[in-house]
């Protein structure tokens, strides 16, 4: 049986973290739960621990990219075969992991399966609806990434993703900093890894505030566009399955 890990990055999510962990333990019991507490100032870590998750406590706030990467480092250390990334705010329903998993099982060799809110899907009616401006931004990045990777990207900002061992190895060694979800898609493409999307329903967030605030949206768009543009120019070695991934972490002085 493959070793499976759910990585839950959480920053000041004390209100939602228990429900998230309980949901994972009840509805995806085959996954070990790792909460990465990104330097929270509330008792997120203690509550997660009490709820039965393993907890990595970062000494200070690194941002979502650093927290998620710590999770992938843990998955690499622990010889996990599968890692699924689930937001700590309760947006992602644990039973939807099985949709990702089923897709990965049907398509062996897919390195990452992303849950998308914006794919046509009939059986889910309570689809998560985000604000209009945000949908616009998501569509902008989706179109940009679709062009760059020559593959449809409907939900580039989705943090609900299931990675296989190769993707774990890549992300543990190299993961984008600031707005990682979008850039990670390009990174996967540059490393010749494959990705796919499946439609999922997402809930409204159960607590805390989204890390993307409206007045940061414009800056966000510019930064990510820049990051993607420069990312295109970046030369990355191709990672073959089983190879160690490109190293950025061990760069010396």
């Amino acid at each position: 049986m493959p070793r499976q890990l759910a990585i839950v990055p959480a920053y000041n999510e004390a209100d939602a973290i228990v429900a998230t962990v309980d949901d994972l333990r009840a509805n995806a019991p085959e996954f070990d739960v790792l909460v990465v507490d990104d330097g929270s100032t509330d008792d997120t870590a203690d509550r997660a621990r009490d709820a039965g998750a393993d907890v990595l406590q970062l000494p200070f706030n690194l941002g979502i990219g650093g927290a998620v990467q710590a999770g992938y480092m843990y998955a690499l250390d622990g010889d996990y075969d599968i890692a699924v990334q689930v937001d700590g705010d309760g947006q992602h329903a644990a039973e939807e992991i099985h949709a990702l998993q089923a897709h990965a099982d049907r398509n062996p060799g897919t390195n990452m399966v992303t849950g998308s809110r914006f794919m046509p899907c009939d059986e889910t009616t309570d689809r998560f609806q985000s604000s209009r401006a945000r949908r616009l931004g998501i569509r902008y990045f989706g179109r940009m990434l679709s062009t760059m990777t020559r593959q449809p990207v409907t939900d580039p900002t989705s943090g609900f993703r299931l990675c296989d061992r190769t993707a774990i190895e890549l992300f543990a060694r190299d993961y984008p900093h600031d707005y990682p979800e979008v850039e990670a898609i390009l990174m996967l493409h540059a490393h010749r890894l494959t990705r796919d999307e499946v439609p999922v329903a997402m809930r409204e967030r159960q607590g805390g505030a989204s890390s993307i605030r409206p007045w940061h949206a414009a800056l966000y768009m510019i930064k990510v566009t820049l990051a993607l543009g420069i990312g295109l120019l970046r030369e990355r070695p191709t990672v073959e399955p089983g190879d160690p991934a490109a190293v950025s972490a061990d760069r010396g002085i």
Partner: protein
């Protein structure tokens, strides 16, 4: 360039040069970051002293006042230095991030080791350890067995060979407070 201005320029750039040397001598400034400073101050001092050179450069690049050329050179060096410092900061941020991540991973591993009576070497096993021992015993131990007094197993918290993978992982039901492991350890 007027003589007063020349004297001032020489004093300032020479003073800067000497300060950099002194800072390096006192180990307040690392040599690797002083190099750019030294180059800049030497160049500025040189141009201030040999104003003939400054004037020749000025006319060659079409600048009427030698002073402006001096400013331009200083500005160029400042730009280079600021760029250099942003590079250094970026690298420090990256290294800082890696340190934080590794520290969190090690802390997590330490907590699990200390809370696991089957792994942590110590006196009498706790009341709940008999039922906990089997999973640890079937766990994959890469570098030795704690029960035989070998080196502590690096991966003892990640058993996968034996029973279901989750059996030996620390769960809240069997997780002991960290203090227990510390108490046991007679540091």
């Amino acid at each position: 360039m007027s003589t007063q201005l020349r004297i001032i320029a020489i004093i300032v750039s020479l003073g800067l040069f000497l300060s950099v040397i002194e800072l390096v001598r006192r180990r307040r400034l690392m040599e690797r970051y002083a190099l750019l400073w030294l180059t800049a101050t030497v160049a500025l001092t040189g141009l201030s002293i040999w104003s003939g050179l400054l004037d020749r450069i000025s006319s060659a690049i079409g600048v009427r006042y030698g002073t402006s050329t001096l400013f331009a050179v200083a500005f160029g060096f400042l730009t280079l230095m600021v760029l250099h410092f942003t590079l250094v900061i970026s690298r420090l941020v990256e290294q800082n991030k890696i340190l934080a991540q590794k520290m969190a991973l090690l802390q997590g591993r330490l907590d699990r080791l200390e809370s696991d009576p089957a792994v942590a070497p110590g006196p009498e096993p706790r009341a709940d350890s008999p039922e906990r021992a089997p999973p640890a015993a079937t766990g994959r131990l890469r570098s030795g067995d704690p029960r035989t007094g070998d080196a502590p197993p690096r991966d003892a918290e990640q058993p996968s060979g034996g029973g279901p993978p989750t059996t030996a992982r620390s769960r809240p039901t069997d997780r002991e407070p960290v203090a227990v492991g510390c108490d046991r350890d007679d540091r």
